[in-house]
């Protein structure tokens, strides 16, 4: 490790810059005084203050993975249309903060020219919250950016229009660690491993500490053993839930398996408290094999779910609220998804997920 140069005093624990430095004057003046907002058209919203001040927000989609060239292009747009003020959202969108209404349409055209569609507000599909995948993570069971790109190419009209019964939130996580907000999404795309790690004994000896590998496993599936007089480990396969924690600690225990890794799809979660309480997503499609570069089967499955919901849900009804109204048997029937053994939970409190009444439709 390079020694610290004594000439320059190293700063630590300064924290992030104070947000006030980056707020446009209209926000500073009206902070906490906003009265109402109105979505004017797809991706454009006005927020009106009690003082009468009007702040316009233009929201555009992004792939989250951005080059510095693109960030500089955003900065140029912000300079040109809104005095250099912009922000990002929890779903990776970029938002420009305008005070001059006449600049909205020119900005939208400029964003279109740059390849970034404006939309994602109100009753639309916003950008897909997602994780790293093959771009940067060792434990991914699928790519993230590629699946997201293919799905959004297909659904882009739902981003740029507001014709859905309610909001629809999609998220993707490339393994069970779930580094993005997936488990509470209307539609969740989740990468899954289906085979336990394979132990490479020679590499293990050279690169890993056995006690660390053993203690890394949350289900105690990894056990120390002696093979040919050499210390090693074995995996009790029935115990493994394919979480890849052992692989994180020890590169000699690869879990990735091109043949068996793939994608599962979950539905009906929400985080907002509006109307119904927050809900987890539930399993709809247990497994779709990876089919890069464009994962057509996943794209098709997601489109089917969106369309069946959009045709049948009532106004304001999120995916989960719609399913709760019609019941799961009808959901499987309407979407044409086969119901299988793996749909039935068999973990700790599985019993609470069984149907414990005769409230059924026929």
């Amino acid at each position: 490790m390079p020694e610290v140069q004594p000439k320059q005093k190293r700063k630590t624990d300064i924290g992030p810059p104070h947000y006030e430095k980056f707020l446009p004057p209209i926000i500073k003046e009206n902070y906490g005084k906003w009265k109402y907002h109105e979505v004017l058209k797809p991706g454009v919203m006005v927020t009106v203050s009690e003082t009468g001040a009007r702040l316009y927000t233009v929201r555009a989609g992004s792939p989250r993975l951005l080059s510095i060239d693109k960030i500089r292009a955003y900065a140029d747009l912000a300079d040109k249309y809104c005095n250099g003020y912009l922000r990002f959202t929890s779903r990776h969108n970029v938002e420009f903060l305008l005070t001059d209404e006449s600049k909205i349409d020119p900005l939208i055209r400029a964003l279109d020219a740059l390849g970034h569609p404006v939309g994602g507000m109100a009753n639309s599909i916003s950008s897909i919250v997602h994780t790293q995948g093959w771009v940067h993570c060792h434990s991914s069971a699928t790519d993230a950016s590629g699946v997201v790109k293919a799905v959004m190419d297909d659904l882009i009209l739902y981003f740029t229009e507001m014709k859905l019964p309610a909001k629809l939130r999609i998220a993707l996580a490339c393994c069970l660690n779930m580094c993005g907000a997936v488990h509470c999404s209307d539609i969740a795309i989740l990468g899954i491993h289906r085979r336990p790690p394979k132990v490479n004994r020679d590499r293990l000896k050279a690169t890993c500490e056995i006690p660390s590998v053993v203690s890394a496993c949350p289900t105690a599936a990894v056990r120390p053993v002696t093979v040919d007089g050499q210390p090693s480990v074995e995996v009790i396969e029935e115990r493994c839930m394919f979480c890849a924690n052992c692989f994180t600690v020890c590169p000699a225990m690869p879990i990735n398996d091109p043949l068996n890794d793939g994608v599962s799809i979950w539905v009906g979660g929400k985080v907002s408290n509006a109307r119904s309480e927050p809900m987890f997503s539930k399993l709809a499609i247990p497994f779709i094999p990876n089919n890069p570069p464009r994962w057509p089967e996943v794209v098709e499955a997601v489109r089917n779910l969106v369309e069946v919901w959009a045709r049948n849900a009532r106004k304001y009804e999120r995916m989960g609220e719609w399913i709760n109204r019609i019941g799961w048997p009808r959901f499987f029937e309407m979407t044409g998804i086969p119901f299988e053994k793996v749909h039935i939970d068999d973990f700790k409190h599985a019993g609470t997920t069984f149907k414990r009444s005769t409230h059924l439709t026929y």
């Binding site: 490790m1 050279a206 690169t207 890993c208 500490e209 006690p211 660390s212 203690s215 890394a216 924690n245 994180t248 600690v249 020890c250 590169p251 000699a252």
Partner: protein, 82 residues
């Protein structure tokens, strides 16, 4: 009231624990805190253990590592780098 130990004594004790069990056990900050508290009893306190860990790290004797959780270890070349 027993006399307090010094930061140096605490950090030396921690360093010895980490060194003696290298390859056998990984220590978390909380494990080290508990172990030295057991060792020194009420001659030690939370501010001292915190300062001792900081001393170990900032003098480069130990580093934080991450293997599914954060640990404090003596610097070494890791498997994945090879």
């Amino acid at each position: 009231m027993a006399e307090q130990v010094t930061v140096q004594e605490v950090s030396d004790a921690m360093y010895k624990m980490i060194k003696d069990s290298m390859g056998q056990k990984k220590w978390k900050a909380t494990d080290l805190t508990k172990a030295v508290t057991e060792l020194f009893g009420d001659r030690c306190n939370k501010d001292l253990t915190k300062a001792a860990i900081r001393d170990l790290i900032e003098n480069g004797k130990c580093v934080y590592t991450y293997f599914g959780g954060s640990f404090i270890e003596i610097p070494h070349r890791e498997g994945a780098e090879n």
